[in-house]
């Protein structure tokens, strides 16, 4: 096993008004390839901020951040966009699907950035739909799907380009128990069967149990690591 995420002395602060508010302070830790990590901590402790940094949608102030061997802090805006499209799958609390696109089209969206032909795209999308168990719902718009189904569409979209890392920010935060269980089971399968490295932010102790490791953040500092 090797480290897929290497974080060294990472700091991040936000400017609010005239004040600088430190969010992450001097974080150092690694994440192993194939791991399933749950990031926990009180509200405002910087979980989302850390996840965004690892996923390359925000930039740190100081420190090193290597993902898959690449120093992503050195990438330009457009290089970072390419890198995200190829290496990271995103799962959001509120699904963030395009409301004017069907389930099928939402899943197909990231493939527009690839060179795949129309028929190859169809094949990929159908495979992903089958994996999340929504083949019969592919023509539905997000507004015609339940929260759990929408989140499964979002997961299919996240894995459609076969990224190595999946990041999920409270993926069950908006779901009832049963739907949450479905989503968590699906994520565990993606980790076990496809070897995806998953970093999941959650408030839910039960959800965190699905992960191999739990990391506690408090006021920007990493507390403990429990198995």
């Amino acid at each position: 096993m090797h480290s897929i995420v290497e974080i060294g002395n990472l700091s991040k602060s936000y400017r609010r008004g005239g004040q600088i508010v430190p969010v992450l302070e001097d974080l150092t830790f690694d994440i192993m390839a194939g791991d399933f990590i749950a990031l926990m901590g009180p509200s405002g402790s910087g979980k989302s901020t850390l996840l965004n940094l690892i996923a390359g949608i925000d930039k740190p102030d100081h420190g090193t951040l290597r993902v898959g061997g690449i120093d992503i802090t050195a990438l330009s805006e457009s290089e970072l966009a390419d890198w995200r499209a190829r290496n990271v799958g995103f799962i959001f609390q509120f699904y963030n699907l395009m409301p004017v696109l069907t389930a099928y089209e939402n899943i197909e969206l990231p493939l527009l950035l690839t060179r795949l032909s129309g028929s190859e795209r169809r094949e990929h999308v159908e495979t992903a739909l089958a994996m999340v168990g929504l083949t019969d719902r592919m023509a539905h718009y997000p507004s015609e799907l339940s929260g759990g189904q929408q989140q499964r569409v979002a997961i299919a979209r996240a894995i459609i380009t076969d990224p190595t890392i999946l990041v999920a920010d409270e993926p069950t935060g908006d779901l009832d128990r049963v739907s949450a269980e479905d989503v968590l089971t699906l994520m565990a399968r993606l980790n076990a069967e496809l070897g995806k490295t998953i970093i999941m932010v959650t408030h839910d102790q039960h959800a965190a149990q699905k992960a191999h490791h739990i990391r506690q953040l408090d006021k920007g500092v990493l507390l403990s690591s429990a198995a």
């Binding site: 965004n52 949608i57 995200r84 509120f94 963030n96 395009m98 527009l112």
Partner: protein, 384 residues
């Protein structure tokens, strides 16, 4: 395909908002087209004027006639092929509000105006009858004048009662020619005047000159005016087109105002459209941020917004352009004979199309720049 689908579905997301905006564009493009057509109608007389004809008049003012003796001297200028006499008559038919143009013209006048066509027998009948007159088709239609009818006029500039017999009705060779005038014999006019007010005889309002080559218009004009320089009645010679535009220029301020208004209409709808696009783009911040997360660049997002703006403008604009010709026809019917020619020109259609494109692009610029520059972290926080 995928992109087009996304753009069109986005455009139809708020059906009421898009519908109202589109209606605004239709109305604006239509109003713009009609106003431009009004301006065109105003200039129609000048546009149908020929540059192969010159007009010589008193350099002081149109109010002052020129001596009849000038005719022979003008004919002597190199390049001049024919000289016709015309006097503005300005009489009233029955009631003052029945105003139309009347000209006393020499018999060679029609030779200079091939754009007016007249059956040969009517032409001969006119030439035979001293009191005969010719009526343009548009005028004849307006008042129901028929060949053989007696046409009484009450003079204003040349007082007294005058009587004419309609001997012919002439048509324009095409729809752009104004045929709202009456022509009659200059000889009859002059002889009657000499009887009634002898000192006003032998005077010509303006001379119309046929020339050999339009390219020589400037040189010939100069030569004519030089012939009469330092005389009691100096002349001003210019192309018929310039002459007609001189008339239009009197109402230049009105025309300019109409023009300005037509563009103001476009500016207003541009602001409305920009507002619609800004509202839509703002509501979709989280979606644009999500697209960026997935790896789409700022260009893709700008394209979505430009495409949407463009689609709305194109649909509204095409409907507006399509409605212009029927609306113009209706307008012409309602306005009666204010404008003898009221036709939507291809130039106007082109301008409408250009305006529509301009609205589509201009309205999207600011929202597109804003949305494409959106920072992912901030855009995602706009959710919920």
């Amino acid at each position: 395909m995928y992109l087009l689908k996304l753009i069109l579905r986005n455009a139809l997301r708020h059906k009421l908002r898009t519908g109202l905006t589109m209606l605004g564009i239709i109305v604006a493009v239509l109003a713009f087209g009609l106003l431009q057509t009004v301006v065109d109608a105003w200039y129609a007389g000048a546009q149908s004027a020929s540059s192969a004809r010159l007009v010589t008049r008193s350099s002081i003012s149109l109010m002052f006639p020129l001596p009849l003796s000038y005719e022979g001297r003008i004919r002597g200028v190199a390049g001049v092929q024919a000289v016709a006499r015309t006097n503005w008559f300005g009489a009233i038919y029955r009631e003052p509000r029945n105003f139309f143009a009347q000209f006393a013209v020499s018999d060679n006048y029609l030779d200079l105006y091939p754009e007016f066509v007249l059956p040969d027998d009517q032409r001969q009948a006119y030439l035979r009858d001293r009191k005969g007159c010719l009526i343009g088709r548009q005028l004849a239609d307006q008042y129901g004048f028929k060949v053989g009818a007696v046409l009484p006029l009450r003079g204003t500039i040349y007082p007294g009662n005058w009587e004419f017999v309609v001997r012919g009705i002439f048509d324009g060779v095409d729809e752009t020619k104004v045929t709202r005038q009456m022509l009659f014999h200059w000889e009859y006019f002059n002889e009657t005047l000499k009887q009634r007010t002898p000192r006003r005889g032998d005077q010509v309002g303006v001379y119309v000159l046929g020339i050999d080559n339009p390219d020589n218009a400037a040189a010939i004009s100069r030569a004519v005016d030089q012939t009469f320089s330092n005389s009691l009645a100096e002349t001003l010679t210019e192309t018929e087109q310039a002459f007609q535009l001189g008339f239009v220029a009197m109402s230049n301020e009105i025309i300019a105002a109409i023009r300005v208004v037509s563009y103001v209409v476009i500016l207003i709808i541009m602001a409305v459209m920009a507002n619609t696009m800004a509202m839509s783009a703002r509501e979709r911040s989280a979606e644009y941020a999500t697209l960026k997360v997935l790896g789409f660049g700022p260009g893709f997002i700008a394209l979505l917004i430009f495409g949407e703006s463009f689609a709305i403008c194109a649909i509204g604009g095409v409907l507006g352009v399509a409605a212009t010709a029927p609306a113009a026809a209706l307008f012409k019917d309602l306005a009666g004979n204010v404008f003898p020619i009221f036709q939507v020109s291809s130039h106007t259609l082109l301008l409408q199309t250009a305006c529509m494109l301009l609205i589509g692009i201009a309205a999207a610029i600011v929202p597109a720049i804003r949305a494409s520059r959106i920072r992912i972290v901030e855009g995602l926080r706009a959710i919920g």
